[in-house]
């Protein structure tokens, strides 16, 4: 049994092995909604810092926060919600003060052509329309809840999806008539999904904080600064984010 455990530990060791310190190499843990814009920024950063390699781990912010707290080899954490960032600063893995680098607002997503003729938040209460929302447990769901509460609308969803991508799949296939997602997600979903702004969206603006980890090399701080730069802001705006 001892031998078996040793073997298991050996396997576990492999997965957490640090890259060689001779080449500056930074690992960025970022919210899934940042995928396209951060990949673009990563390439530009590598071009500006020859020899530096940036690798990404995109995922749900809460999952990423848990991974970091379990010892995953992150150098930078960019979260889609301050709450998840707080989970990491609470453990001391991040000591620097996180900076808000982008904001995201909700938009009504409808299939191309808007077959349900959805125009505003009140339509979400109609029983004859198929409605998809994010589950309350994930950030887009929490934001939607806040918006509905502020608008005084009792939504009648048919499904509470586990993430934004799942919601958009259903919108683009026309399985639902409307959904409430972030405008960056609508932008990323392409032509099959149309986004509609609505007045109450300002009631649930989502802040994106970023910070280097305490034990990270100096290049991590450089990457954070690059995201906060003019160029970083331009790329994020193009993806649908608002400036902080």
């Amino acid at each position: 049994m001892k031998r078996v455990l040793a073997f298991v530990l050996l396997l576990a060791g492999c997965s957490t092995a640090q890259p060689s310190p001779s080449t500056p190499n930074i690992t960025v843990f970022a919210a899934a909604s940042l995928t396209e814009s951060f990949q673009k920024l990563g390439k530009e950063f590598e071009a500006a810092h020859p020899g530096t390699k940036v690798t990404f781990n995109f995922g749900g912010s809460s999952a990423l926060a848990q991974q970091i707290n379990q010892g995953a080899p992150a150098d930078v954490f960019a979260s889609a919600a301050p709450a998840n960032m707080k989970q990491v600063t609470d453990t001391g893995a991040i000591t620097a003060a996180p900076t808000t680098f982008a904001k995201n607002t909700l938009q009504i997503a409808v299939p191309q052509g808007n077959p349900g003729k959805v125009t505003d938040l009140a339509d979400f209460a109609k029983a004859d329309l198929k409605i998809a929302l994010c589950a309350e447990q994930v950030p887009c769901g929490a934001a939607a809840k806040k918006v509905f509460a502020a608008a005084g609308v009792t939504a009648a969803p048919d499904t509470l999806e586990q993430d934004v991508k799942a919601v958009l799949t259903k919108v683009s296939l026309g399985e639902v008539d409307a959904a409430l997602v972030y405008r960056t997600d609508v932008r990323a979903a392409g032509a099959k999904v149309e986004g509609k702004d609505f007045a109450e969206a300002s009631g649930a603006v989502n802040d994106y904080p970023i910070a280097p980890l305490a034990k990270a090399p100096a290049e991590a701080k450089d990457f954070v600064n690059f995201v906060l730069s003019e160029r970083g802001r331009a790329v994020l705006t193009e993806a649908g984010f608002a400036a902080p």
Partner: protein, 259 residues
């Protein structure tokens, strides 16, 4: 070891056992035992558990009704391209369940190839319904049943069917009274596998049927969402699912497989 098993087999066997059981042990060790009873008897858990059991059982019935005849066709039918057909039947095994769910949406969804007619002509819409959950689970679980029953059929001696024919039995009567009872162990094993797979189904279900408490939120969906905010609750839900499935499977084993 006492029966002098070779070490080259024993060591990997123990490693394999540990590999399967250590994560389970991890769940049990990390479980928040103090809050377990309240979690266990909460309305949400009861609802999700009941829905899971009902849907997995209905999906298993669907698989039996469609899968056993399919297995028979594959094992005994005299059709061209049987090898290819046999391979195609196993596709849901290798397909990522989420892709399976999307495929179901493309066919049976509101805008799907078949689904649009169901919607227009009969007003039937399967996504986001409990029936949709049953369908998604059946889609993913059926290969387990078909493969198991087909294997049993191919191992069964077809001369018994000939004996039944010489006694005047039609092919249908022969199938019911002779073939099916003789492959019963295979059918039971397949049913158990099928039910267990349906019970744990996540990807195809959430993709095709969505997630709505009491209607389509089965235990695996509840576990996944709980994991987002409350890992402790997720562990409790997992343990509930684990205990119920182990209890049912152990009960079935006693009643059927020993008989």
């Amino acid at each position: 070891m006492r029966s002098r098993l070779p070490v080259v087999l024993v060591l990997p066997a123990i490693a394999g056992l540990a590999f399967l059981l250590v994560p389970l042990a991890g769940l049990l060790v990390k479980a928040p035992w103090a809050s377990l009873p309240t979690q266990l008897f909460s309305a949400e858990v009861g609802q999700a558990l009941r829905l899971s059991l009902v849907c997995a059982s209905l999906a298993t019935v669907v698989c039996l009704v469609l899968g056993v005849p399919l297995a028979w066709l594959l094992a005994r039918g005299d059709l061209p391209g049987r090898g290819l057909l046999r391979a195609l039947v196993t596709v849901p095994l290798v397909l990522p369940p989420v892709v399976g769910g999307v495929a179901l949406l493309l066919v049976l969804g509101r805008r799907g190839v078949v689904g649009q007619h169901l919607d227009q002509w009969f007003g039937i819409s399967l996504p986001f319904t409990t029936a949709g959950v049953v369908l998604a689970e059946a889609f993913v679980a059926m290969p387990f049943l078909v493969i198991s029953v087909e294997g049993a059929l191919r191992a069964a001696d077809p001369r018994y069917e000939e004996a039944a024919a010489t006694l005047g039995a039609s092919r249908w009567l022969t199938f019911r009274r002779v073939t099916l009872p003789s492959v019963m162990p295979g059918v039971v094993a397949g049913t158990v596998l099928c039910w267990a797979r349906a019970l744990g189904e996540f990807g195809a279900t959430i993709t095709f049927a969505g997630n709505f408490p009491g209607r389509t939120t089965t235990m695996p969906l509840a576990v996944y969402l709980a994991l987002e905010t409350d890992p402790d609750a997720a562990i409790v839900l997992s343990i509930v699912l684990l205990l119920v499935s182990v209890a049912v499977l152990a009960g079935l084993r006693d009643r059927w497989i020993r008989a």
